[in-house]
């Protein structure tokens, strides 16, 4: 799980252009939206694309998103249980 969390941190830094940020700067348990990383709705779309492209996961139920994208740790948990690749 730690490897997956690190991989997700690096992927998120890359796709969201979080320049000057390193994986160590991101608390896996911290909120991604609002406080914490302060991501916005466009970033949420980018994360959905990331899950599909890198892990073959299609989010068919938008209501799930709020829980899945709560933190890096929650994304990692969902990816580990639902990844297709």
């Amino acid at each position: 799980m730690d490897n997956l969390i690190l991989q997700l941190k690096n992927q998120i830094i890359e796709v969201l252009n979080l320049e000057d940020m390193t994986p160590e700067d991101i608390d896996a348990e911290a909120p991604l939206f609002g406080d914490g990383l302060g991501l916005d709705s466009i970033d949420a779309l980018e994360l959905i694309v990331l899950l599909e492209r890198e892990y073959g996961i299609k989010l068919s139920n938008p209501a799930e998103g709020k829980q899945i994208f709560k933190s890096i740790a929650s994304i990692a948990d969902y990816v580990s249980k639902n990844r297709k690749k």
């Binding site: 796709v15 252009n17 979080l18 466009i42 779309l45 694309v49 599909e52």
Partner: protein, 175 residues
């Protein structure tokens, strides 16, 4: 029309009110003079260029003055570089379009980024012209005063072709 402040940004030199203040590129200018707005890194190149120009021009202008200001910008290339980058993400058969790129496939997004940062609620517009037609640009700026009374107008040319070819010639003007 009276010019309050003006700035010129090219890859080699940034001149503010006649003084060369830096030779850094756009990211270098951000680190040198701004540094507190992480959203900068998510912007496309055109927005970064316009944003940096506006940050340097608007330093010292208070929030009340900015609230009713107008933003009127011009360029030649529109958002072409981002349009091309976005197109690359949708050319494969099994493509994954980038939402973060797509939102910048309009040139006028730069006026919105500047307005959001500075809480500017006045008129904003963006014109794509064949060249820097000063007569036409001045007509458009002057016409703004026929329909509204902005405290000042942030206006000028902001054009990004590639990392070696970009130019912002922006100014703050009043009636």
């Amino acid at each position: 029309m009276k010019t309050i402040a003006e700035i010129s940004i090219t890859p080699n030199r940034t001149i503010l009110n006649g003084d060369t203040i830096s030779t850094a590129n756009i990211a270098g200018l951000y680190r040198e003079f701004v540094g507190d707005y992480p959203k900068f890194f998510k912007m496309d190149s055109l927005c970064k260029l316009g944003f940096i120009g506006s940050e340097l021009l608007l330093k010292g202008i208070n929030a009340e003055e900015k609230e009713n200001a107008a933003i009127i910008l011009f360029n030649r290339n529109g958002s072409l570089i981002t349009d091309r980058n976005y197109q690359k993400t949708i050319t494969d058969d099994n493509y994954f379009p980038s939402p973060a790129l797509f939102v910048y496939t309009l040139a006028n997004i730069v006026t919105g980024e500047i307005a959001i940062r500075n809480k500017i609620y006045g008129e904003s517009s963006f014109y794509v012209l064949n060249n820097q037609d000063m007569d036409l640009m001045n007509d458009i700026i002057n016409n703004t005063y026929l329909t509204s009374s902005p405290t000042f107008i942030l206006t000028g040319w902001v054009d990004f072709d590639d990392e070696h070819n970009y130019e912002a010639k922006l100014k703050l003007v009043t009636k």
